[in-house]
């Protein structure tokens, strides 16, 4: 798993990874799945959210708590070195009452046995060694406690989109090697005219391929060629930077931009690699059963009626 990429991602302040409503939190059925879960909890409870990212699920829990007059204390862990109170807008205020635990693996939760009334995780459990993480969840849940996880589904719209974006990254990074072509041109200093022209022609040809791919993607589905748009934009900005920066420094900027796209690819690869197909979710349910969880229920979770966005998995520690 490429931790660094996730840390970069969360430092950007994005709260949710998936379809969201105007408030930046999950909406419609996805939100209802969490509101339903939190609504079923007692008025005094201790909650744990694993792989919390920037704390989207704690935010929904806090909202339910406010509407019900419930008094919950919330702990939230993530393997990445997260800090939502700093990285999310108004984080200190919005996350009042939530204790974040960065750099904590779901397979090794630093809590006493039987500490929590409920454990949650959104696009979380599947990134771990699920058997080990579920064993930890079972351990830290109080008898009578409930857990709910939403995991990536191998056939979801998010995964399909991720696969497309990865293929697009491959076009930019491997097929065209766009950033290498940019790098070559911007770092040529006092080279012969012919050399400069060759590098320039090469870049123009590369950009043409990427632009055509972008147009094809947009024609297929508007907004779906984002990777190409980012790459074209980056190339133009980096070329423009030549006017104000030394070639060597621009070259470093090109490397940085390329690495950013590679990191995106790794994040998407994580996502696709950890998404669960029918056999995968069945295996997780078997692990839960073996640990002694009961009332295991699993549904396909849709957004706006028809967009498959994951599995919704609930379980109970008797």
């Amino acid at each position: 798993m490429s931790l660094e990429q996730w840390e970069t991602y969360y430092r950007g302040g994005a709260i949710a990874t998936g379809p969201t409503g105007p408030d930046g939190l999950y909406d419609l059925e996805v939100r209802r799945a969490w509101v339903g879960f939190f609504s079923s909890l007692p008025t005094e409870a201790r909650l744990l959210d694993i792989a919390t990212g920037n704390g989207v699920i704690p935010l929904i829990a806090l909202e339910v708590a406010r509407s019900r007059g419930a008094q919950w204390t919330i702990d939230a862990t993530d393997l990445a070195r997260i800090d939502p109170t700093q990285q999310v807008a108004d984080g200190a205020e919005r996350f009042a009452g939530v204790r974040f635990h960065p750099a904590v693996a779901s397979e090794k939760l630093p809590f006493e046995d039987a500490s929590f009334d409920a454990v949650s995780g959104h696009y979380a459990l599947e990134y771990s060694d699920t058997a080990a993480a579920l064993a930890q969840v079972h351990r830290v849940l109080k008898p009578g406690g409930d857990a709910q996880f939403v995991t990536h589904h191998a056939g979801s719209v998010l995964i399909e989109s991720a696969r497309r974006s990865m293929a697009d990254c491959d076009v930019v990074l491997k097929q065209v090697r766009l950033y290498r072509r940019v790098h070559r041109l911007v770092t040529l200093d006092s080279a012969p005219e012919a050399t400069l022209k060759a590098a320039s022609d090469e870049l123009v040809a590369g950009l043409r391929v990427v632009r055509e791919a972008h147009a094809t993607a947009e024609a297929r589905q508007p907004g779906s060629g984002r990777v190409f748009a980012v790459a074209i934009d980056a190339a133009q900005k980096l070329l423009a930077a030549r006017r104000t920066m030394k070639p060597a420094l621009v070259g470093l900027e090109v490397d940085r931009a390329e690495e950013e796209l590679r990191a995106s690819w790794r994040r998407l690869n994580d996502l696709v690699g950890h998404a669960l197909d029918d056999a995968g979710i069945a295996a997780v349910q078997q692990q839960a059963t073996a640990l002694g969880f009961t009332l295991i229920e699993c549904h396909r979770l849709y957004h706006a009626g028809e967009n498959l966005v994951g599995w919704q998995l609930t379980m109970h520690r008797p």
Binding site: R32, A33, G36, F37, S39, S40, L41, P42, T43, R68, G69, P143, G144, D146, T294, L295, E297, H299, Q312, T314, H316, P318
Partner: protein, 513 residues
């Protein structure tokens, strides 16, 4: 619509806003104005009906809908269904309810809600075949498959399964219920009906673990849908407030000078209370067999008095003068006399609501000589039975969690112990287990407490064809049976949280039945 209709429409819209804001008087005045402007404005008559219903004036509510229908209101089938609900649930006019439902179906033959209500009405009246026939129509007739309310067909399947349970674990019905559950959306209400029906079927077959699993899923679905409403602190505070409002000393001091207004009044109201599923419906059915008893069932007059007119209750009941109490008592008598004209010739009218236990202090203010029958059941069996039933969360917000049930049970017993101390000799405990295992001796004791002569017809209650409007309506159609007594032992492995909560509340949990 008449020339005045536009004004009337605007008035009605304002009335709707007032109604939604809970200002019934203001809503009614605006509707009256609308009707003055447009006397044949059917929608205004409908609105008047719902305001009357919210005021508890159901006869007037029905009359308003009658006028609305006469005026030619839109969607008349819905007006008929509404009339049927008021007839059945509040006016005890089951035949009129049935006629209203049939009228709705005549107007709109694919109006599934009317058919489902008709099935439910047949169930309450003990007409099993007629109920099953309604549900079979809902399930089999293609016209109901495509209507907007078609999810109700899953409820029809659930009710059918409850009335005609699976004969074995291999019965196709079990698989059909499971498939129906899998096919319903995760948090849908019909899923809850199916889960409880499956649980009840499996319980009868002795498949304890699978049955408990089904009940637990049903309760979880309900909790997710409705939200966990039980707040232990608030419940304990409510009981504290009742105990403070009706202290034993006050009850004792008023004992010497009880007003005599109800000394010889007939019928004497007898109040039955206890936990839900503690046998209170059964006890009332037993008493209904007595020629001098009229069974009133669940009468909502007293809770409405307490929680509407005397709100905030019990604070406002503390200062109730003796004259006011006597006047309210007379109002109660007039209300039940109108509901049960036959009761004027009877010696006893039973008012049976499990939540009467909250009102014993108030009841004794209104009727100082009133007798109270308190049904009790082994707390584990009682708790399990509540958990196994698809209860209305509005009424029993604790019913979906075994820990909450145990906590609530503790609070209820604490309050009943208080009433016992306040009114010694006026409360009589009727253990469910005695009622099913030693019916005659138990019933003799109850009748003696009420000053009634023994009558053997009390024990033949299951042959009676009256209407039972509680969750118990099929149990009371069967001869007294003991298979539900001690059931908790079979489920004990699943009941740790109930037992822990009961013990934490100081409730005695006897190991013997």
């Amino acid at each position: 619509m008449s020339a005045g209709a536009p004004d009337a429409g605007a008035l009605l819209a304002r009335a709707g806003a007032e109604h939604r804001a809970g200002r019934l008087g203001a809503a009614r005045r605006l509707i009256d104005e609308a009707l003055a402007a447009a006397p044949r404005f059917g929608e205004a008559w409908c609105a008047l009906g719902t305001v009357h219903a919210d005021e508890g004036r159901f006869a007037e509510a029905v009359a308003a809908l009658d006028v609305a229908l006469d005026c030619g209101v839109g969607r008349p089938h819905e007006a008929h269904l509404q009339r049927a609900v008021w007839f059945a649930d509040h006016l005890r006019r089951d035949d009129d309810a049935r006629a209203a439902l049939e009228a709705a179906l005549a107007l709109k033959p694919d109006y599934l809600p009317a058919l489902m209500n008709l099935g439910n009405l047949h169930e309450q009246r003990g007409d099993r075949d007629a109920a099953l026939a309604c549900y079979a129509r809902a399930l089999d007739e293609p016209r109901f498959a495509a209507v907007p309310e078609s999810a109700l067909r899953q409820v029809a399947l659930a009710r059918t399964a409850v009335m005609r349970p699976p004969a074995s674990i291999d019965d196709a019905l079990v698989a059909r219920l499971r498939a129906a559950i899998d096919a319903t959306p995760p948090d849908a209400l019909e899923r809850v009906h199916l889960q409880f029906a499956l649980g009840q079927g499996l319980d009868r077959l002795g498949a304890v673990d699978a049955a408990f699993d089904a009940f637990a899923r049903g309760n979880r679905t309900l909790l997710r849908r409705e939200g966990r409403r039980y707040d232990p602190r608030r419940e304990a505070a409510a009981v504290d407030a009742l105990i403070a409002a009706f202290p034993p000393a006050a009850a004792a001091s008023s004992d010497d000078d009880r007003p005599d207004v109800d000394r010889d009044a007939r019928p004497a109201p007898v109040f039955i209370c206890g936990m839900f599923r503690s046998g209170s419906t059964l006890l009332e059915q037993v008493l209904a067999g007595h020629p001098e008893v009229v069974a009133g069932g669940e009468i909502d007059w007293l809770p409405r008095l307490a929680f509407e007119r005397l709100a905030p209750f019990p604070a406002r009941a503390i200062g109730l003068s003796r004259d006011e109490a006597a006047r309210l008592g007379a109002e109660y008598r007039a209300h039940v006399a109108a509901l049960f004209p036959a009761s004027l010739d009877a010696r006893v009218l039973t008012d049976k609501r499990p939540d009467n236990h909250l009102l014993v202090g108030l009841i004794k203010r209104l009727f100082p000589r009133a007798k109270v029958l308190h049904t009790v059941r082994h707390p584990m069996d009682n708790g399990l039975s509540v958990y196994m039933q698809h209860m209305n969360l509005e009424v029993t917000p604790y019913a979906n969690d075994l820990g909450d049930i145990g906590h609530y049970y503790g609070q209820y017993r604490r309050l009943m112990a208080h009433w016992d101390a306040c009114f010694p000799g006026d409360l009589h405990v009727v253990p469910y287990e005695s009622l099913v295992h030693d019916a005659e001796a138990t019933v003799r004791g109850v009748l003696a407490f009420l000053g009634l002569a023994w009558d053997a017809r009390c024990l033949a209650f299951h042959e009676r064809r009256n209407t039972v409007k509680t969750a118990s309506y099929w149990q009371v159609r069967r001869p007294l049976y003991g298979d539900a007594a001690g059931r908790w032992r079979r489920y004990r492995a699943h009941l740790a949280s109930l037992e822990a909560a009961l013990r934490a509340a100081g409730v005695d949990v006897p190991d013997a039945d």
